[in-house]
């Protein structure tokens, strides 16, 4: 593995990390938007606490499922591309 490949891999890892943090922040925002609507206290109420927990867990399950479907579609696209590139 030469230097170019190493650099490429590092850039990829950095981007996946950034993307994960972005997904995480987006999830917090989404669940806060949907679950927290009253501000009579500084702490999350029991109801809000449960809602945020379920929202976050559900979002992870959701994102995992989207990731699986997305992976399947990406792979199929790659395979279709290969077939078109193949000499007859």
């Amino acid at each position: 593995m030469d230097q170019d490949q190493a650099r490429m891999l590092a850039a990829l890892e950095e981007m996946q990390m950034r993307d994960s943090l972005r997904t995480f922040n987006g999830l917090v925002e989404r669940c806060f938007t949907d679950c927290v609507t009253g501000f009579r206290s500084k702490s999350l109420t029991d109801g809000e606490d449960k809602c945020v927990t379920a929202c976050a867990e559900k979002f992870f399950n959701h994102a995992r499922r989207v990731g699986q479907r997305f992976g399947e579609l990406s792979q199929k696209q790659q395979e279709d591309l290969m077939k078109r590139m193949q000499p007859k």
Partner: protein
């Protein structure tokens, strides 16, 4: 390299938007942390439709470029 990296960034951005859009369209309430059967089916279809819309818009963009239409960005 830089072009490849941008393609990956764009793909990651598209994935994030897909996750967000399909969550909004398919997941309605948070009483349970598991996706219901109905929600799971909806999510699967949503991903396919989002992918399809993405492909379609790419096709439209390429047609517009081939027709010689100017770029959508100011020069």
């Amino acid at each position: 390299m830089s072009g490849q990296q941008m393609e990956l960034e764009a793909m990651a951005d598209m994935f994030n938007k897909m996750v967000d859009q399909c969550f909004k369209k398919c997941v309605a309430e948070y009483r349970e942390s598991d996706l219901s059967v109905g929600e799971s089916t909806c999510v699967d279809r949503c991903v396919h439709k989002y992918w399809g819309a993405h492909q379609k818009v790419q096709d439209i963009l390429q047609k517009q470029m081939q027709a010689g239409g100017p770029s959508a960005r100011p020069m």
